[in-house]
């Protein structure tokens, strides 16, 4: 058959497995059909750069989106974005081993909680597979089914529960103005709904060691921090941890009671919530101000620990500036690459 009308192609993965896939689809989709879930936080639009894998042969010309996201060295090494590579001819790929741990999961929504006026907690009971191994701090890709004339899409949500609870996952989703995923979660997702997601993904997790750590979060950035702290409690990790969480007013401060209780059970842990615009009725006696300013006030002149950040890009940028001023180098500052 001439190359131009090939209807299927052979894909060889890590020189040990091969399968045939229909042409005319993205490599990301072809791998997903074979239950190989490559990380993706942009729904395959060539925006996040998370789906990079090594293609040894068979990929067509590099696309402009790949040019924008891959360095020259990466391109020379055969790195490609799986969502941008079209399956047209036989392909030979090398995929990092840890990508094989990600799978597709089916689950049931067993609880929905309004954590704040604009953050909704979702509890999922996994049905197939019944459990998921993950590291505290990682995220999943939640399938948003088509609604209101929209299309099927995926959104990344951090897991808010600890790995000791592998059959029940908790998520915390923030309402975004006219957001496709968050509107689905707030308006359309019902108790007992069957949902699908893939994961786990990401390398945002507490690095081993006993260095002091500061965690800084705002909004739905609470989710991975909660998972990390509950995991420390479960594994009885002894490490000096300060958790700075910023919210607007008292009503936006989620899980206050839970975190204060955690201060009693997790040795060397201190929770420092801060409100940027407390209401008189809040009767707030805690920290006031932007969380980056609160962090600056609390950290010593030179901080030799690690920092874990999760929240809006503006918050992350402001905290990184503070951390640099306190002598914390980039190799000790962690946050989700795509966030």
């Amino acid at each position: 058959m001439p190359e131009s009308i090939k209807t299927s192609a052979r894909i060889t993965v890590n020189d040990r497995a091969a399968f045939s896939a229909p042409t005319g689809q993205s490599l990301l989709a072809a791998l997903q059909e074979r239950n190989i879930f490559i990380p993706s936080a942009c729904g395959g639009h060539g925006l996040c750069g998370l789906c990079r894998i090594q293609v040894l042969s068979g990929a067509g010309a590099i696309t402009e989106r790949e040019e924008a996201l891959l360095s020259k060295a990466e391109r020379r090494a055969g790195q490609r974005l799986a969502c941008q590579v079209q399956v047209e001819r036989d392909l030979r790929l090398t995929i990092p081993e840890h990508f094989f741990y990600a799978r597709e999961y089916k689950a049931e929504v067993v609880a929905l909680r309004e954590l704040t006026p604009d953050i909704r907690g979702i509890t999922l009971k996994l049905s197939s597979p019944a459990t998921m191994d993950f590291k505290a701090g990682q995220y999943i890709q939640f399938r948003i089914p088509p609604y209101a004339g929209g299309r099927l899409t995926y959104r990344a949500y951090s897991i808010a529960s600890p790995p000791s609870q592998p059959g029940v996952l908790e998520l915390e989703v923030k309402q975004v103005l006219n957001g496709i995923g968050s509107t689905y979660v707030f308006k359309h997702l019902k108790l007992h709904a069957a949902v699908v997601f893939s994961g786990p993904y990401g390398d945002f997790y507490l690095r081993p060691g006993n260095r002091a750590a500061v965690l800084v979060a705002g909004g739905s950035g609470m989710a991975p921090m909660r998972a990390i702290l509950l995991d420390m409690r479960d594994r009885q990790v002894r490490r000096r941890v300060h958790y700075f969480y910023g919210a607007r007013a008292r009503r936006d401060l989620l899980l206050l009671g839970e975190l204060q209780t955690l201060e009693q059970t997790l040795p060397d842990f201190q929770f420092i919530p801060a409100l940027s615009a407390p209401l008189p009725a809040d009767e707030w006696h805690g920290e006031i101000g932007l969380i980056s300013d609160v962090l600056a006030r609390h950290l010593a002149e030179r901080f030799d620990g690690e920092a874990y950040l999760c929240g809006s890009p503006a918050m992350i940028a402001a905290c990184i500036k503070v951390l640099h001023e306190k002598g914390v180098n980039d190799d000790r500052i962690f946050y989700d690459a795509f966030a």
């Binding site: 996040c48 402009e64 924008a68 088509p146 004339g149 959104r155 607007r248 809006s312 503006a314």
Partner: protein, 164 residues
């Protein structure tokens, strides 16, 4: 950097993709070319151009950025709130690169007006002269935008920067 697709290609993409059409053209029955023409006429009548408008939007967003989601007072009489979420989205015109999910709300305290625009709106206006169709959730009426942001013909010394 890839150049945006031609108007005809975009029109075709929008026709073939009802979800994108609804997101950017809303319930507007006019063609993309007609929408662009009508909005361009409004902007021209005010003696302005799209670059000027996008620049003003960008300057106000920059001014509000340090608030990390809190309202920032911007002289002479604006209250600006910038809410940035995690994640990026693509330009429907097929431009290269990613646009951050950032929404800026500007309240003009002197005129009692308020408007919210996203980073994608700034990009669409700067790069494509596109204010979106009627009924689209992020449609910006150029007249209302100009009024609320108090954009005048005089050069305002708007900050330059990236809209993405």
């Amino acid at each position: 950097m890839k150049k945006a697709d031609s108007l005809a290609t975009i029109e075709k993409t929008l026709q073939n993709d009802p979800a994108t059409r609804r997101a950017f053209l809303g319930s507007d029955k006019r063609s993309l070319a007609e929408i662009l023409r009508a909005d361009a006429a409004i902007v021209r009548r005010r003696g302005l151009n799209h670059a000027r408008i996008a620049q003003r939007m960008l300057a106000l967003r920059q001014a509000g950025w340090s608030g990390q989601g809190e309202v920032v007072a911007v002289p002479p009489h604006f209250a600006v709130k910038v809410e940035a979420e995690r994640g990026y989205l693509a330009c429907p015109f097929g431009d290269e690169g990613a646009v951050a999910k950032v929404n800026t709300t500007v309240r003009n305290l002197a005129r009692g007006l308020e408007i919210t625009f996203s980073n994608l709106n700034i990009h669409l206006i700067a790069a494509h002269r596109f204010y979106e169709g009627r009924g689209a959730k992020f449609r910006l009426d150029p007249g209302q935008l100009i009024e609320t942001l108090a954009i005048s013909r005089r050069v305002s010394g708007a900050a330059s920067g990236r809209h993405r």
